[in-house]
Symmetry: C2
């Protein structure tokens, strides 16, 4: 840390931590669930909150309407390299609500044995807490130096958890305004606790949903049990046919475009500090259950999946009901790698289902048609080395380039629509329970995350000068 | 119809039909869903309504408490054979509520092309409408003659749709009071529209429910997709394993105690007027989907089943959620025939599931342990021939002895606990949508059902004298 501008900024971040936590808590109390239309006005309120917060640190920011949830865009007029920071203010639904130990939108600070202090609540990690690490770094820098070390554009969306339908049209319409030298994204996790991580590749995503209809109406299992086509049995058979007994996806042509990773990459990943035992045991698993012949990390970062995210039909209430339902439903997502094409894959999956239906059964597809291919980052850019060095300084441990099992389609879109590379740095932990009940973000992630961004901004500005 | 007492009773029934429909409507407006604790007081209200109605026709009736929903028991002091009439005042849940075209508990009379006038609403057929056919026959007889042609006991329960937990204890405690020469039950359907039917055999029933747990908590399908054990895939595999590709249940030992029916019985059934084409096509099926090698009627009446009545887990709301849930759930029922033993079968099914689980997956069973074997009626008793003749007179078509796919465990319990035979006569139709949205009861079933019971009572009393 030779940059003399940095020390007072880091001191300010340390001193301001309680105030920064208060601000995050306020943001977390807004239930901005984007996928559920009932929360539309709350999403709007979250966007307003962000605009006000950016304006309070001197950013020229505004809420920008879309056909869906609003974007928040802001710019500074500072000198230095021009970077665009992306995050999302929307959050996942909270069900099953009964499994939350504290209300999801009443965030609290909790002392834990394993992680020290944590922030508990929906969005604390994904992505409000992560997003605010960058905003707080800018706030501290500005307070100390009166200006920022880079020209920064802020770009926050409110549809990341619901397929980002407005994202590409908005980027196309505002391409000049949104194009910077590099995009920074804080929506990923560290490969292991305390190991600063920059994403080198991300899996892509395909979502779909189908309904199998058997009888025209719900039937009585006494009058019709036997002769009736039961769509629950039908959908179970179809879902069971998605995988073979080795864990491999059995949809014909599924693995087209999948590339095996190099031995060199495997070695790097194995040396990354990834703690397989903790990763598995913390969620109650004694082994990895994916494709035989691939390591846990490969299954997570380098192999595609077909997962069932929801499956339902018939009577789900208390007690028993002797019904043979008319319909059964299934939601799926696939994670994609290499050059797998979401549109072609969707057709293959739909054909797989249709080909397996019994006579009298019909299938309808309700999924939106969005999909995103896998993304590989341009890690040869000098900013990656600058950031790696800055992160290593903060965490006192060598930062690593790692794969990521999740999908952050925005990285691919920045490249595709704006020709802009992206660098993904995140401070979440695998046990943050994002998308699950009792989501949390370690206060260490928040605090050192803010400090990390201050260091990265200094490094990017120094690398330029 | 040589019995001179009958003609004025039938005339009175015809004249009183509008008033009888009004009474039924009032009864149907009480949402007595027994399986859902939220409707407990409504079940109580239905019992009160029945007591008041019985008292209004001179029956010495009372509500009798149980640990669950109350029984309604009443007696008359008339001379003649002593019969006990059984029915149930509770109804099935109404979900999916969105598929009802009229509110389930706001019954209406509707003119239909296919069936003439129908009574639409939950319970109209199962079992409030059927139950009231007998009560109305008694009311008319009493009004005309001042007394009934038989000593009648009434026995109505409120837990038939939720496993009848209080039934056997109550019968044991009140055995002397509840034992008559013969039980009459109106909770079955006619083999074809307009064909009066007496049940000669009923399938038994076993209910169970299980939960498969994979990961300890819900997981993110990016961070864990691949290595994670997905309980939805697990439960789909287990459910798919319940049947082989010929429709036969693949649980080891499932068919122990099943007997093939005689060629003579098959011939009788084939001549019963059962309309296979209508039965299948009315619910959108072009063929029977049960065990290969058995006719539609055999699949429905003479073969056991393992049906899935509910299957659920993961995200079921609007939009998409990239979750791998911790738990998946399944409700099943089996229909039993011959001497299949519910308790032994339950163990076989549970072992089948346990044996198929992946490492790290666990199963818990939540079903109540009730079960009822199949029941074969004592059709050699003279009352069966008397009733057959009476029904043939009313419907102008030979009454038939038929199998039944449904389970009316009460018939077996009467025999087992009280040593009392039962005769099941019902006027429902297969398209009544009992247990489904838009349940209905044909006004013809109601009207001719009342007339049928008047004739049966006359015949039973004449057969004795």
């Amino acid at each position: 840390m030779s940059d003399p501008r940095l020390a007072p900024v880091l001191d300010r971040i340390d001193a301001e931590l309680p105030a920064a936590l208060d601000r995050l808590m306020e943001f977390l109390r807004i239930p901005s669930i984007s996928t559920d239309p009932a929360y539309r006005s709350e999403c709007d309120r979250a966007a307003d909150w962000l605009v006000a917060d950016l304006v309070s640190i001197g950013v020229d920011a505004a809420k920008r309407p879309t056909p869906g949830h609003a974007m928040v865009v802001g710019h500074t007029a500072d000198a230095g390299p021009h970077v665009l920071f992306y995050g999302h203010y929307d959050v996942q639904p909270v069900d099953p609500l009964g499994e939350w130990k504290t209300p999801p939108f009443e965030p609290v600070l909790q002392e834990t044995e394993e992680h020290g202090q944590v922030i508990r609540g929906r969005g604390s990690s994904d992505d409000k807490g992560q997003l605010m690490t960058f905003v707080e770094a800018c706030r501290a820098w500005k307070a100390v130096h009166g200006s920022l070390p880079a020209k920064i554009s802020f770009f926050f969306e409110g549809e990341e958890e619901s397929g980002s339908p407005s994202l590409i049209p908005f980027m196309k319409e505002n391409a000049a305004e949104l194009t910077a030298e590099l995009a920074l994204i804080c929506d990923t996790s560290m490969v292991a606790p305390g190991v600063p991580s920059i994403a080198s590749q991300l899996r892509g995503m395909l979502k779909d949903e189908f309904t199998i209809t058997g009888p025209r109406i719900d039937l009585h299992s006494g009058h019709y049990g036997g002769p009736a086509l039961n769509p629950l049995k039908e959908i179970a058979r179809v879902v069971a046919s998605f995988h073979d007994e080795t864990g491999r996806v059995a949809v014909e042509g599924f693995y087209e475009g999948v590339e095996e990773i190099s031995d060199e990459m495997k070695r790097q990943w194995e040396a990354s500090g990834f703690d397989e035992k903790t990763y598995l045991e913390s969620v109650g698993m004694s082994r990895a259950h994916g494709e035989e012949g691939y390591s846990t990390l490969e299954q997570q970062w380098a192999r595609p999946t077909l997962e069932v995210n929801g499956l339902w039909g018939g009577y789900m209430g208390a007690g028993s009901k002797t019904v043979i339902p008319s319909k059964a439903h299934c939601k799926i997502t696939c994670r994609l790698v290499g050059s797998m094409d979401p549109d072609r894959l969707r057709e293959k999956i739909r054909a797989h289902v249709s080909d397996r239906l019994s006579p009298d059964a019909t299938v309808t597809w309700d999924g939106n048609l969005d999909g995103s291919p896998a993304a590989v980052m341009n890690t040869d850019r000098p900013e990656f080395e600058a950031a790696r060095s800055a992160l290593s300084d903060e965490w006192d441990r060598e930062a690593v380039l790692v794969g990521m099992g999740g999908s952050i389609p925005i990285a691919g879109f920045f490249k595709e629509v704006l020709g802009m590379d992206a660098m993904l740095i995140g401070f979440a932990n695998d046990d943050d329970a994002i998308h699950s009940p009792n989501e949390k973000y370690n206060v260490e992630s928040f605090h050192k995350g803010i400090r990390s961004w201050a260091r990265v901004l200094a490094a990017l500005s120094a690398e330029r000068s």
